[in-house]
């Protein structure tokens, strides 16, 4: 049983097709959606979006946004999205390192929070990259 998934940002449309399963990172924790889910709307935290279509898994980095879940469709209005293969591993590593270094310094609470957020973002990015390398993620739905 499949349902319609739409993944869009203000600047482009990434997915608009039938899929079997979606897992996203809501502000109150991860949630998975299969067809026939009861309607809900959730804000998204930075995290991985996993899509299963048939046997293939696809993964995306979503920086936040809103997901609307209806029984036969899921619409994700994301702030920014990176496909797993678009993530720049070197850059993410460097950014994470910088954030870690910065956190060791004595800094203000506000700065600390920004760096913690940064750290979290980059960790998510890197874990997506790592997973993509290790398992059966074939990459990208409907390569355009």
């Amino acid at each position: 049983m499949s349902f319609m998934l739409t993944l869009v940002t203000q600047e482009r449309e990434l997915i608009s097709e039938e899929v079997d399963f979606v897992k996203a990172n809501g502000v109150d924790g991860e949630f998975g959606v299969l067809t026939g889910h009861s309607p809900f709307i959730s804000l998204l935290d930075p995290g991985e979006l996993v899509v299963r279509k048939g046997d293939a898994l696809y993964s995306y980095y979503v920086s936040g946004g809103v997901a609307e879940v209806l029984p036969k469709s899921v619409i994700i209005l994301a702030n920014t999205v990176e496909r797993a293969d678009e993530i720049d591993e070197q850059m993410a590593k460097r950014a994470r390192h910088n954030a870690e270094e910065a956190l060791k310094q004595p800094i203000s609470e506000i700065e600390r929070r920004t760096y913690l957020l940064e750290l979290k973002r980059e960790s998510v990015r890197l874990s997506i990259v790592a997973r993509r390398r290790s398992t059966r993620h074939p990459g990208q739905i409907s390569e355009e």
Partner: protein, 292 residues
């Protein structure tokens, strides 16, 4: 009869003009292609968030949220999207005409503007209307940050009750040959928002579960909705601007060609006439010498 020299001068100047319009046509057509792609890329998000907001407004209308509640209209806020430059056919004039008609249809209502684009600023100043904010020099690269100052002003005016409705006026990109002036009501959000806006939306009228809760979600969604729609409309306007400019310049180029053709004809005739006259003068001179 104009002199040969002056015609030669005019042909040259028209040729220069033709070169300029030709270059502008090619620049516009290159930009147009990109802008059209951007229109295509930005439409889905705008459509989806609009559908979602229309659904939410139907569910949430009983709650006291000022963004969903229609109120008596004394002041209308208008976001006027125009171009920075001219030479793009009638698209700005068409939008301004629609604004004027819109205002004429609503006597007794005050109008205030947030303007995007230099041409719109000129229009507002010329007509003695009130602009509470304006931006120009927006780039066509498809970055939403550039229009945020405009949307923030507008949403603030509405939130603080100074505006009772917010509309956006822009030129919709239909195709390279056709651009339509359009107006849409953006706030308050209701089923009447944007003609045909709910099309294709599943008419879901049950309750949603909210995570974390309604207020927080709406606090995020409403500004997003507003920004993305305005942003998308600006992108439409860019595509329209470049398409209209390309067509205008193409017409100008072919006009110039026609003018050059006509003037070359006159020039050649004049030159022929001058040569004939000279020959007959020489011939009659020679005759006179022989006879004498």
């Amino acid at each position: 009869m104009p002199s040969l020299r002056s015609i030669r001068g005019r042909i040259k100047s028209v040729k220069n003009t033709r070169q300029i319009t030709k270059a502008m046509e090619m620049v516009a057509s290159a930009k147009m292609r990109k802008a059209q792609m951007r229109v295509r890329d930005t439409r889905p998000y705008a459509e989806k968030i609009l559908e979602l907001m229309v659904r939410l407004s139907a569910i949430e209308s009983h709650r006291p949220n000022i963004f969903f509640k229609a109120r008596p209209v004394t002041t209308v806020g208008i976001i006027l999207v125009s171009t920075d430059r001219g030479l793009c056919g009638p698209i700005n004039a068409n939008v301004f005409r629609q604004v004027n008609k819109f205002m004429a249809d609503r006597p007794g209502v005050r109008f205030e503007f947030v303007v995007i684009g230099k041409k719109g600023q000129d229009f507002v100043r010329r007509s003695g209307l009130k602009a509470v904010g304006s931006i120009s020099g927006v780039k066509d690269r498809g970055k939403i940050e550039e229009i945020l100052p405009a949307t923030q002003v507008a949403i603030e005016e509405f939130q603080e009750g100074r505006w009772d409705e917010v509309w956006v006026f822009f030129t919709e990109f239909v195709s390279t040959l056709s651009q339509k002036p359009r107006m849409e009501k953006l706030l308050p959000i209701g089923p009447d928002v944007v003609e045909g806006g709910g099309k294709g939306a599943s008419p879901f009228l049950g309750e949603y579960l909210y995570e974390p809760d309604t207020t927080e979600i709406l606090d995020v969604l409403i500004p997003r909705y507003f920004e993305s729609i305005v942003f998308q409309r600006v992108m439409e306007n860019f595509a329209s601007e470049y398409s209209a400019r390309m067509m205008a310049m193409r017409n100008a180029t072919s006009n110039a060609k026609e003018v050059i053709y006509q003037m070359t004809l006159i020039y050649n005739k004049l030159r022929q006439a001058a040569i004939t006259r000279e020959i007959s003068e020489i011939a009659s001179g020679a005759d006179a010498v022989q006879q004498g």
